[in-house]
């Protein structure tokens, strides 16, 4: 008997046969296949009861109703709320990505106090009590020394309960310096004030208009309430309404319009008046409206005996199609045709506000466009523009101003804007840096990110350096929060009670209820509660102005009898509102529409942008639905949708016409240095026929330097860094639509 190689071979055969006859290989194969389908990192919804909670999305001012699908307390998906008047079940890509903001790593987890150098990101965790007492101590000192006016606040909006509570806080404290992130809505509000005589926001009956003349509005790029605009666009296509897009770049709106007219940017007001010229010359305007309900059309004698040129004379003298053609670069025959079509439409409507309307823009342009609507009678008429009265909080008792508060409120605003005005935030940095007025000691920032969104970020940062104490109430570690001294993180929109007021351009008064869909995940506090705690900590007159035990009580009082409807439906619409007719709508001195208010001089030159002739190109920033460019940074889901002709890895692309590329000896993908009077950046070139030669387009919403975590920061460049503010001569607000620029090979 000898054990050799063959014996072991035989053993092996036996093992193989035995294994094959046992369940081991088959069971193992099955188990492994199940294992490979259940990787631990694969996101799997929790097991449990699923539910939908209705709320409203406040990531942009669009105010869309949302329906959040949850399994137990975990958010699974955000959908549009069916039956919500604004978005009717629709939702945009940013709204869909909201859960990434809720669960993402850029949230601030607890109150923080800066320990390192400003902006270095070195923080010490502090308790809420410590944060509140530290700030109240500082504020108390300023109040006692009679420097209450040296405190300022920047809010994301000036509407809504939290913003109004914020402005109330400053008022009771004794500071006139309440600022908000401005937009085209502010310019429109001024236009309506001067021409209609009412303090109101514009409401456009877009759904019933049949000829939409858009002066560069990104109707499909996030202008107004974005989802409402998409739905309106569907309606226009169905009803054969025509959309004319006047823009220097082939945006999505231009591509989807019936006619795209490329215009030299900044000359839109001239075109509007050129169209008005043809309407008047060919007697195509609405005579009933102009003769009976308007003033300032014909020349008139002012109170002090001067003869003032009427709108008609100015326009006929200065805006002939030929003159306008030279300014705008549009053929005179195209202007005449446009005017005739506009006049012959049943419900023509002209709109302005470039892109998403993030920049307030030229007041003269807004008034020219508004005058165009008035000429054809599209004011307070089906398919026209309506003034939407501002909804102020009714339920709160008036602030009993103590002596310090009254003294503080009597101080001039730091930006030089008239008291009780919305202010001009664009003038804040220069006011601080010039050192002419008083210095600012404390700045509160709520739901806004001025260090990123304001024009010329570097100057804004320099101005921030002069403010010794900055308090951020942001939910995210954004650029401004990173530069703050104390951060008191707010709940994120899905965790808080709030109201979303009527979105820009919407023609019904609506309030939507944002209610906590989730319990707060982190050690955050509702900004409303933070303000109430600060007021209580200060005591005296300030505490008296904040008698509520918490924000919920304050909110319920503000909403009053609307609360019941809000809780039941999720929104409240002023459906009974009867919109006044031409007879009673205008509240100007004459009771008529004012074609030539003192603030409107159609003859003045258009807003001039920055840069001399050494900068041969024009840089225009553009906005898209795929990049969130305001306070909310682009969530990763949304960045995934951005084409690689806009963002490739961390490089961002400028759009230039092939002709411009040729004259600069550039080809697709070249790395260039884009230089403007305000700064320079390394970008890559994308050739695009859809942009006018001589221009450079850069997307807004990229180039974050904060928001760490590797998902948001350092992708592309921030367009606002390269563009400086340009002050509108009348409104004082930012009217910059671009800046001069040049390119050089890197």
């Amino acid at each position: 008997m000898k054990i050799d190689r063959r014996s072991f071979l035989s053993l092996g055969v036996g093992v193989a046969a035995g294994t094959a006859l046992s369940p081991l290989p088959w069971k193992l194969t099955d188990d492994l296949s199940i294992w490979t389908q259940n990787w631990p990192w694969t996101p799997v919804p929790e097991i449990g009861e699923s539910s939908f909670v209705n709320s409203v999305c406040t990531l942009c001012p669009g105010g869309c109703g949302i329906s959040v699908r949850k399994v137990e307390d975990r958010g699974i998906k955000i959908e549009g709320m069916k039956g919500h008047p604004v978005n009717q079940g629709g939702i945009c890509a940013l709204g869909l990505s909201g859960l990434q903001l809720l669960y993402g790593p850029t949230r601030i987890k607890t109150p923080l106090k800066r320990v390192g150098k400003r902006g270095d990101g070195q923080w010490a965790k502090i308790s809420w009590d410590e944060a509140i007492s530290e700030i109240t101590e500082k504020l108390d000192g300023l109040r006692i020394s009679g420097n209450s006016h040296t405190v300022a606040g920047i809010a994301g909006s000036r509407h809504g309960t939290v913003s109004q509570l914020f402005s109330r806080f400053l008022m009771a404290f004794g500071s006139p310096n309440f600022f908000h992130t401005p937009s085209i809505a502010d310019t429109y509000q001024l236009a309506l004030q001067y021409m209609n005589g009412v303090s109101a926001a514009p409401g456009f009956d877009l759904e019933n208009a049949d000829f939409i003349l858009s002066f560069g509005c990104g109707l499909l790029e996030g202008w107004g309430a974005p989802v409402r605009m998409f739905k309106a666009n569907t309606g226009w296509k169905k009803n054969r309404a025509r959309v004319i897009q006047i823009e220097s770049r082939l945006s999505c709106t231009a591509a989807k319009s019936d006619r795209w007219i490329a215009i030299i940017p900044g000359t839109e007001a001239a075109l509007a008046l050129g169209v008005a010229h043809v309407l008047i010359k060919e007697m195509l305007y609405n005579k009933d409206f102009v003769d009976n309900y308007a003033q300032g059309f014909e020349s008139f004698v002012t109170d002090n005996g001067e003869i003032k040129k009427g709108f008609k004379q100015t326009v006929l003298e200065e805006y002939s199609p030929e003159t306008v053609a030279r300014v705008t670069g549009i053929d005179p025959s195209a202007i005449i045709l446009l005017a005739r079509e506009f006049a012959n439409a049943k419900a023509p409507l002209a709109l302005c506000g470039k892109g998403q309307g993030k920049v307030p823009g030229s007041l003269s342009e807004a008034m020219s466009v508004h005058a165009l609507n008035a000429l054809v009678g599209s004011v307070n008429r089906k398919g026209g523009v309506f003034p939407m009265p501002a909804m102020e909080v009714q339920g709160w008792a008036e602030v009993g101003m103590d002596t310090i508060a009254s003294a503080g409120m009597n101080q001039p605003r730091i930006d030089g804007a008239p008291p009780n005005s919305p202010g001009c935030i664009n003038q804040l940095p220069s006011a601080i840096l010039s050192g002419k007025g008083y210095p600012l000691n404390v700045l509160f920032v709520l739901e806004s990110n001025p260090l990123y969104t304001m024009a010329d970020s570097k100057t804004v940062k320099d101005a921030f350096d002069k403010i010794p104490f900055v308090v951020s109430l942001s939910s995210f570690m954004d650029e401004t929060a990173q530069y703050a001294d104390i951060v008191m993180p707010n709940h994120i929109y899905l965790e808080r009670l709030e109201d979303a007021p009527t979105p820009m351009g919407y023609n019904k008064s609506i309030i939507s209820l944002s209610k906590p869909v989730f319990k707060p995940r982190l050690n955050t506090k509702h900004a409303g509660d933070t303000l109430i705690l600060l007021a209580k900590g200060l005591g005296g007159g300030v505490a008296e102005a904040f008698p509520w035990k918490n924000f919920e009580a304050c909110f319920e009082q503000a909403m009053g009898d609307k609360m019941k409807t809000l809780k039941k439906n999720g929104f409240w619409v002023d459906s009974d509102a009867v919109l006044p007719d031409w007879e009673s709508t205008f509240k100007t001195a004459s009771g008529k529409f004012q074609f030539a208010p003192a603030e409107f001089s159609p003859g003045v030159a258009p807003v001039k942008i920055e840069g001399d002739s050494t900068f041969q190109l024009l840089l225009i920033p553009y906005e898209t639905m795929r990049l969130s460019c305001g306070y909310i940074a682009n969530p990763p889901f949304l960045t995934k949708t951005v084409e690689d002709t806009i963002l490739k890895q961390n490089d961002c692309f400028i759009e230039i016409n092939p002709k411009t590329a040729q004259s600069n000896q550039l080809t697709e993908g070249d790395v260039v240095v884009l230089q403007t009077p305000r700064g320079q950046a390394r970008v890559r070139v994308h050739l695009e026929e859809g942009i006018m030669p001589g221009m450079v387009a850069l997307p807004r919403g990229l180039g974050h330097t904060a928001h760490g975590g590797g998902y948001i920061a350092n992708k592309g460049i921030n367009a606002n860094r390269l563009i400086g503010p340009v002050q509108d001569p009348v409104s004082g607000m930012d009217a910059a639509w671009g800046i001069r620029a040049k390119l050089s090979k890197a």
């Binding site: 008997m1 000898k2 054990i3 050799d4 063959r6 014996s7 072991f8 035989s10 053993l11 092996g12 055969v13 036996g14 093992v15 193989a16 046969a17 035995g18 294994t19 006859l21 046992s22 369940p23 081991l24 088959w26 069971k27 193992l28 099955d30 188990d31 492994l32 199940i34 294992w35 389908q37 259940n38 799997v44 097991i47 009861e49 699923s50």
Partner: protein, 230 residues
């Protein structure tokens, strides 16, 4: 003749002589080979049928030893009294603590398990981490409503007479997949006697074929994979 040829010859001679030698020992060596074969066969069968399942599954005890029989006599609506359907038609599975509290806010008997349950979970408001024997992988979509409500099937057809059990059997967790042994079945070979012995895909299709129930996906109106694997 070259040197290489010499070597070749030498090797072939050696080869021939060794073949002769082996032939002579054939009788003894054959037995060893068969013996080794049997040893290998038996050992691997033992490994596959006995040792492998012991290694594959870990044994876990349920947090509370629940008595189904006792509860069944006290409730009015059979299994559905606790394992109910939600308002939206979805199946709630193992009851949540809130449901247990409806009766067990206070200890009702001297049963040590109930006392432990009330003290450890009810009083502290902690959900009981029940181990679910019938939990299918996440890639499986199964509607209880379709089977219990529409097809009027008994719970026991798939779950067996668990409602008659007086104590909870140990939960055997597959170390590779993390799922319960009840899915593959107690028998490692996959043999079954009763309909509830296994809960694999073949068992679903066996019944569907027998009953000639072929229903397409609600979304696609087609039959096939996507009816259950969405």
């Amino acid at each position: 003749m070259s040197e290489i040829d010499d070597k070749t010859q030498a090797v072939s001679k050696k080869a021939v002589s060794s073949t002769h030698g082996q032939r002579r020992e054939d009788g003894g060596s054959g037995g060893v080979i068969i013996l080794f074969f049997i040893v290998g066969l038996v050992a691997s069968l033992v490994v596959g049928w006995v040792l492998f399942p012991k290694l594959l599954y870990s044994q876990k005890k349920q947090p509370i030893d629940f008595n189904h029989t006792l509860h069944n006599t006290l409730v009015g609506n059979g299994c559905e009294s606790c394992h109910s359907f939600r308002e939206d038609g979805s199946y709630s599975g193992v009851p949540k603590l809130a449901q247990c509290i409806e009766c067990h806010e206070e200890v009702q008997s001297s049963n040590p398990e109930e006392i432990r349950f009330v003290e450890q979970y009810v009083k502290k408001g902690i959900e009981v981490p029940w181990l679910v024997y019938a939990r299918q992988p996440d890639c499986v979509f199964f509607s209880h409503a379709a089977h219990v409500k529409s097809a009027k099937m008994d719970c026991a057809t798939c779950h067996g007479p668990i409602g008659e059990s007086e104590s909870m059997k140990p939960y055997q967790q597959n170390r590779i997949t993390g799922y319960s042994r009840d899915i593959w079945g107690e028998n490692i070979g996959g043999f079954k006697k009763n309909t509830w012995d296994r809960m694999k895909m073949d068992d679903c299709s066996e019944c569907h074929q027998k009953k000639k129930v072929v229903i397409g996906s609600v979304q696609t109106q087609k039959e096939g994979c996507f009816v259950c694997h969405k």
